[in-house]
Amino acid sequence: MDKAVVDRPEVSVVYVASDDTRTLRRMLTNVKELATSLEVIVVSPKCVDTSYLGDESSWIDKIVSPSIYSYDEGRALGARHARGETVLFLDERVDFSLPLWQQYVDAVRNGADVAVTVRTQTSTSAKKKKPLPTRYAYRLLNHLLGHTELGTGTLSRIPFACSRKALKALGHECLRTPPIAYVKAAWQKLVVVGVHPDSAIKWTDDTRISMVKSTRQLLREHAHAIQLLVNLIGPRGGMPDGDRYRDLLHIPGELHLRSVFYPQPREDKGGVWGGKRKKKQTGSHKKR
């Protein structure tokens, strides 16, 4: 696996790590079976010690950039250096599973430009759980893009894979704000497919990990992505305005084409108007 001899590897794996490289070893041991020609790019905000990997580490490209504050930024930087026909995005939080990663690579090989994870909720305990607010954002964006079948599929969550064509069209910088990249992918008619993992993806729940974006930030990024989509489509995202005569709001009510009936006096209850009317009637009677 000599990286120097392969100009355009079949698959690039972009792996972002803050400091936890426990999953890196497992990945490196098995990843070679993913493709005949392969490159692995490890992106980190600080120097990751891979000496314990021995010879295994010799074919890894390491990118250290202290300016990386989130996994998305790391992925954008990794994508810039990736040369593979298919780029698979992973990070330290997820454990390696060859058959699963193969699904993403195969999806791109079979013509997809972007392959995202579609989460299937099957267990009863999962059904009972209150959905995370970010899931609403992922689903809404898919609905607005006409990809309802993709459910919670998103570029904000790994694993996902992109073709070289997709990365060229989107630009690696775009991956810093994944929902924006997602909207651009749909707008540029890139083929986005969902990968349904056969088994649940194993996540490490290390609380030390600080490169995860906050829910607030994720929701805001989705708001910006929706704004981009609306700006691309046109006013109100092409949705109707409910046949509203909005001009009426700028015209005084007296000039509206309408009839107005004001409250009637209550004679039986001795209202003020009723009183006056009675008086008037009495007066006219006197004149006669």
Binding site: Y136, A223, M239, R258, F261
Partner: protein
């Protein structure tokens, strides 16, 4: 003693409503429900009732003009104003300082309406109908849920100013802009932006279709309008975030 207290409380409430409450009702083809709804609204003893009839049939108009409800102002438009435009038109006529917006196609008991008004007297600026939906499935409900989380108002669930009834203080409406009431999610976003207090009120019993008894194509049209309204509101919020952050993402 208990009865005395209760009567005293009811008298205070009645007095408050007579001085402060404006009820604004939209009527289209609602001859089945409107009379019963008006009977319930009368029990609140509001300062005024403003009825906005739009594109209504003769039967609905007859019922309202011949009814025995002397404290209402009836505004008749011979054509449909379009979705939610009646809210702004009605609000411009209102003189109370708490406004209760109702849909003529839904009969709701006075006891159920009272908490909306009470919430506004008690300090809320806007009292929304609490959403009872169990799951978020359709695009519109997704938009409502996403939007409330975006506004950091997760306690509102899927409740929205789209849903009737809701009550709002006159001061709050002025701050939001009366013309903005036409696009309910946008009005809601402006309210939150201005730090107004939004609460939800559960509604246990009601009768009628709440504007849902329409043809499938009309229903689809309404949904799309509602989605468009949410997009308009998300755009507003996104702009606010950008100006707050002072940068372009």
């Amino acid at each position: 003693m208990g009865n005395e207290k209760r009567n005293k409380r009811a008298a205070i409430k009645k007095d408050k409503n007579r001085k402060r409450l404006s009820v604004i009702i939209s009527v289209e083809q609602d001859e089945i429900t409107i009379k019963a709804l008006l009977q319930q609204v009368e029990k609140l003893h509001p300062k005024e009732i403003i009825m906005i009839l739009q594109g209504s049939n003769e039967e609905s108009i007859e019922i309202l003009l011949n009814s025995q409800f002397p404290s209402h102002t009836t505004i008749i438009y011979p054509f449909s104003l379009g979705d939610e435009l009646w809210r702004s038109i009605g609000a411009k006529e209102a003189t109370g300082d708490v406004w209760l917006f109702l849909d003529g196609s839904e009969m709701i008991l006075a006891e159920e309406l009272s908490p909306f008004v009470r919430a506004c007297y008690g300090g809320a600026d806007i009292a929304l109908r609490k959403s009872t939906a169990d799951s978020v499935t359709g695009t519109v409900s997704l938009a409502c849920a996403f939007f409330n989380h975006l506004l950091e108002q997760q306690q509102l669930g899927m409740s929205s100013m789209m849903m009737l009834p809701f009550a709002i203080k006159k001061k709050a409406a002025s701050l939001v802009g009366i013309d903005q009431l036409v696009v309910p999610p946008l009005a809601q976003a402006i309210a939150i932006r201005n730090g107004l207090r939004v609460e939800t009120v559960p509604l246990k019993w009601y009768f009628g279709h709440g504007g849902l008894n329409v043809t499938p194509s009309r229903s689809r049209q309404k949904e799309m309008t509602c989605l468009g309204d949410h997009l308009e509101a998300v755009l507003y919020w996104s702009e606010q975030i950008r100006s707050e952050q002072g940068k372009v993402i």
